[in-house]
Subunit: 395 residues, 2 copies
């Protein structure tokens, strides 16, 4: 029997769907959210806390693990699962996103400004062979190729792995975007060949849909990923220069992607954005947003608590003497044990526990959101659910 | 029935003793170690983790809580116990140590160099009334008097509280030391009067033995604390300019202090130092050492693991690919789930989880040490125990 399997078990009139994704490290109900353990740790939490908060799948970034401690060290320590003490499903990316982000800036910057990052460039040269970059750790130059990325991810040992693609900025001209999309496809095919060459059935490779904001290129990319023997598909590349365009691109790709392969939407983590993604038949999501927001004092809350926003900021002075929990209806460790006033104090004092409690809360919030989404889909009232939960976030 | 009680239940030929200290928040077996929750949090851990690691009593620093969030805010949030979610015994200090440390430098610096701290002085003026200092938080000038310290500690609500004393450096001349010790006694008496004025039986006040390294002054101070109606006694003041002198002063005070009052040795936390303190009939200890060491990569280990030291430093490159736990005989969460190699990686990557795992380990180590000390005393072989566990730390 295959160690991997994906079954769609319920569909809603909106197109949203529930699925069961089977991996060697357990079953994942979808839609679901993947929490970022960037450097091999969900920042500030033990794995026991991550589990207690309800997380079902996590990811680590190949780029960071390659730089430090190096994939061979991870392999010596038993692979990512054993090293981190996580026994559930796990994903790694190809490493390409970070290599290219160092050149172009991250997704948020990308969406907001479509400008490149100021300062030193760590990406040295991109060629047909791969991407030559400089290690931020020791300054050494390193080559990331499609084959190398798969080899690194073999050593890391996550369940779901991704092929190397070229991550380009939103402001690329049509000709360059076409060339980049074609190159991504060639890199993905090389990734797939390397994957098949070393396949033992314990890892599954997703293809990545590229093509920027161009509908015809996105269509070609969906067809490419559909026709190759990728187990699943991830939606990558630039989603545009603002939130409205991001929504459009997700809708567009949602309509053209392979209908039954498990689908991961890369780097999206806002509540409204996830609801939109689910409507566009995305199955999994990942983003640093819930955990990063926590470290900056933000608590994800239902719309009745945060007027006009998806979170409240506990650094705000109005919470200094507030004896109530973040959310009286939340059952997470933070809401059971800590007041807003205490968390405010911890944040003001620079005590790590403040961000830690908020991380626990935000993971719990996201997992409850995803569970509620699944319930709504099974009950075939996902549209009404989105109307109750979507936020009028400024675009 | 009094909410507080202390009974000595076993004595060893060395003089070491086991006791039962009853507080409104539960019973504490002694000898025991008090972990530092300086600003209202054991750095990087939730209270659930602190409890799981076995801690039985914690402290918070009055100075820090007074500055941020302020004792009135703590009171609004239900007092320190409720605010932090800690339901066991707790201690607060008077705030004086920090006020004077800002002037003279901390204990370690004091013992090592007996020089004053360079840079800005935050202590503005010491008078008979109290200490005028500048808040590091907002630059405002504040007056700490014996009465004010007790009032603040009333708002904070810890079980065991301390009177204001003058903390002087080791290099003080005899005349100044005499004057300072006398003033400390006057301040302690004022503290006691303020304490008795507002006593409801829910908090207990310890006296503080001062007198620096002078045997005759230490004797007078022991007599003072013995004769006043303090529930317990803490050993404060300068313990000398090096470790040998510290040992001597502890021995000296151990022989002269009140024989049956519970005795706390302030700011001592090394393994060998604690063993010496226990031999000198000290009942409780506190120090940031186990938790601070952890945040810097240090793991407390038995002598068979750390040759010639009390800890190993996981930042050391030799641990990078070490798949074994910190201590194979330790049952703490870190040793059950994480390898030395993983912790090394976390420390190298700046991931907070590294220090967090080590803090859990070091708390567990200290609690096992204290439990073993109690067993050895009950079995009347504490001397042999110290010979097996004491470390040849350079003086």
């Amino acid at each position: 029997m295959d160690l991997f399997d994906f079954q769609i078990i319920a569909e809603d009139p909106t197109g949203a769907r529930c699925g069961i994704l089977r991996t060697p490290h357990g079953i994942l109900e979808t839609p679901n959210f993947i929490f970022c353990g960037t450097r091999g740790s969900i920042k500030g939490l033990t794995i026991a806390q991550v589990k207690e908060a309800g997380a079902q799948i996590i990811l680590a970034n190949t780029y960071h693990m390659h730089i430090q401690p190096g994939e061979k060290t991870v392999e010596t320590l038993g692979g990512l699962h054993r090293m981190m003490g996580w026994d559930g499903p796990m994903l790694t990316d190809s490493g390409g996103f970070q290599v290219f982000s160092l050149q172009y800036g991250g997704v948020v910057r990308e969406i907001k400004s479509c400008r490149s990052l100021p300062g030193k460039k760590s990406l040295i040269k991109v060629s047909e062979e791969g991407a030559l970059f400089r290690s931020y750790y020791d300054g050494s130059s390193r080559m990331l190729t499609p084959e190398k990325s798969i080899q690194i991810q073999r050593s890391l040992g996550a369940d779901i792995i991704l092929p190397l693609d070229e991550c380009t900025p939103a402001h690329l001209d049509n000709k360059s975007l076409r060339a980049s999309t074609d190159r991504s496809h060639r890199w993905e095919r090389r990734s797939l060949e390397e994957f098949l060459r070393s396949d033992t059935g314990t890892q599954a490779l997703y293809g990545i849909v590229q093509g920027g904001t161009d509908e015809s290129l996105r269509g070609e990319s969906c067809a490419f990923v559909s026709n190759e023997s990728f187990f699943g598909q991830a939606i990558g590349g630039s989603l545009g220069i603002n939130r409205a365009q991001m929504m459009d691109v997700i809708s567009m790709v949602g309509a053209m992607k392979h209908p039954t392969k498990p689908t991961h939407l890369l780097g999206i983590g806002g509540v409204s954005d996830i609801l939109h993604g689910v409507r566009c038949r995305m199955d999994t999501f990942d983003c640093v947003h819930p955990t990063r927001l926590a470290r900056h004092g933000g608590a994800l809350v239902p719309r009745e608590i945060a007027i006009g926003s998806e979170h409240i900021n506990l650094k705000n002075a109005k919470y200094a003497r507030d004896p109530s929990p973040i959310d009286g209806n939340c059952t997470c460790y933070a809401c059971r044990t800590a007041s807003r006033g205490y968390i405010h104090h911890l944040l003001k004092s620079g005590e790590l526990l403040g961000g830690q409690l908020l991380t626990i809360h935000n993971i719990t919030f996201m997992m409850r959101l995803m569970a509620n989404i699944r319930t709504a889909i099974r009950q075939k009232n996902f549209y009404q659910f989105t109307q109750q939960n979507i936020f009028p976030v400024p675009i």
